[in-house]
């Protein structure tokens, strides 16, 4: 328990170190999540349109 406490305390700089890693994770992870969701949505749209066009012909 003490070990984890020392680790989390980051030698007294916990606020700075964890904020830095947190911001990096939030920004890059957020961009990745946003890009992935938009990609899935675009794939679904293309498949739906292709099916609709196929049915009409």
């Amino acid at each position: 328990m003490g070990d984890i406490g020392t680790f989390l305390a980051m030698g007294g700089y916990a606020g700075f170190v964890w904020s830095a890693f947190g911001i990096a994770f939030a920004v890059l992870g957020g961009l990745a999540l946003f890009s992935w969701r938009r990609y899935r949505a675009s794939t679904v749209t293309v498949e739906r349109l292709q099916q609709e066009l196929g049915r009409r012909r």
Binding site: M10, G11, Y13, V27, S35, Q50
Partner: protein, 258 residues
């Protein structure tokens, strides 16, 4: 090679295979890199544990510069050779570069406060990186500011090329001016001046960030090609009945003439 890859259909086929592989490799490399930099790497004898901020700050800065170079090179190819994928690539890469630049600025600020005693100083390195961030935002805004995407792409490409002048300013700002920011300690003539126990996790994170860029770039390019395909399909769906109706009218008119 470039001409061979210029075919969007071939790009879609190849990238569909590459994305899952790159994605999982990125996750593994970043997990190892994070464990290495947060747990295994030693604290600095002067900076203590704040030195760990380096493991995101420095690779993010490298990415910010190299992605800008990528956007500018892709823009040049799009302007000169009208390569169909080059503009798609430049547009897809710019927001990723902006995100890395933001991470670089924010983590630098969080490192500067305990070590320099200031969140921000207007020295040459910090200011030129802030300009880089605004160049990214300017490119993104300009490239999507026109109703005609082709015109937006050309305007953005010109801005991206003009902005390249900022890259050597960023790189050499720490040598040309007296800055609070320290000079290069890894990419310098005479080799890195940093202990291996810190250099190894740093390079691991750099590899992880580069892989993340590749995955996000491929994903965003695929999205953009999908969206273009959807637009073409919609136009096709709307136009087909009208075109058929028009043709029938013409044919019936021709029949009724004599």
């Amino acid at each position: 090679m470039i001409n061979w890859l210029a075919n969007p259909a071939r790009f879609m086929r190849l990238s569909a295979k590459a994305v899952p592989w790159c994605g999982w490799t990125t996750a593994v490399v970043l997990a190892v890199g994070l464990f290495w930099s947060l747990v295994l790497a030693p604290p600095d004898y002067q900076q203590g544990d704040t030195v760990r901020i380096m493991y995101v700050h420095v690779p993010a800065a490298w990415m910010a510069l190299s992605i800008y170079l990528f956007v500018a090179a892709a823009s040049a190819v799009a302007l000169v050779w009208r390569h169909p994928l080059a503009e798609v690539a430049a547009r897809a890469a710019a927001p990723i570069g902006a995100a890395f630049t933001f991470v670089c600025l924010a983590t630098g600020s969080l490192w500067g406060r305990p070590m320099w005693g200031a969140w921000w100083v207007w020295d040459a390195r910090l200011t030129s990186v802030l300009v880089l961030f605004f160049l990214y935002l300017g490119y993104i805004a300009l490239a999507s500011a026109f109703d005609d995407p082709a015109r937006g792409g050309r305007a953005g490409a010109v801005l991206a090329l003009v902005g390249v002048v900022n890259l050597p300013i960023i790189k050499f700002s720490v040598d040309w001016w007296n800055t609070l920011h320290q000079p290069a300690s890894v990419m310098r003539i005479g080799g890195p001046r940093i202990a291996l126990s810190m250099l190894a996790p740093l390079l691991m994170m750099a590899v992880g960030f580069s892989l993340l860029f590749v995955v996000l770039l491929l994903l965003r390019m695929r999205t953009s090609l999908n969206e273009r395909r959807a637009m073409a399909l919609r136009l096709n769906a709307d136009a087909a009945p009208a075109w058929r109706a028009g043709r029938e009218r013409v044919i019936s008119a021709q029949i009724s003439v004599p």
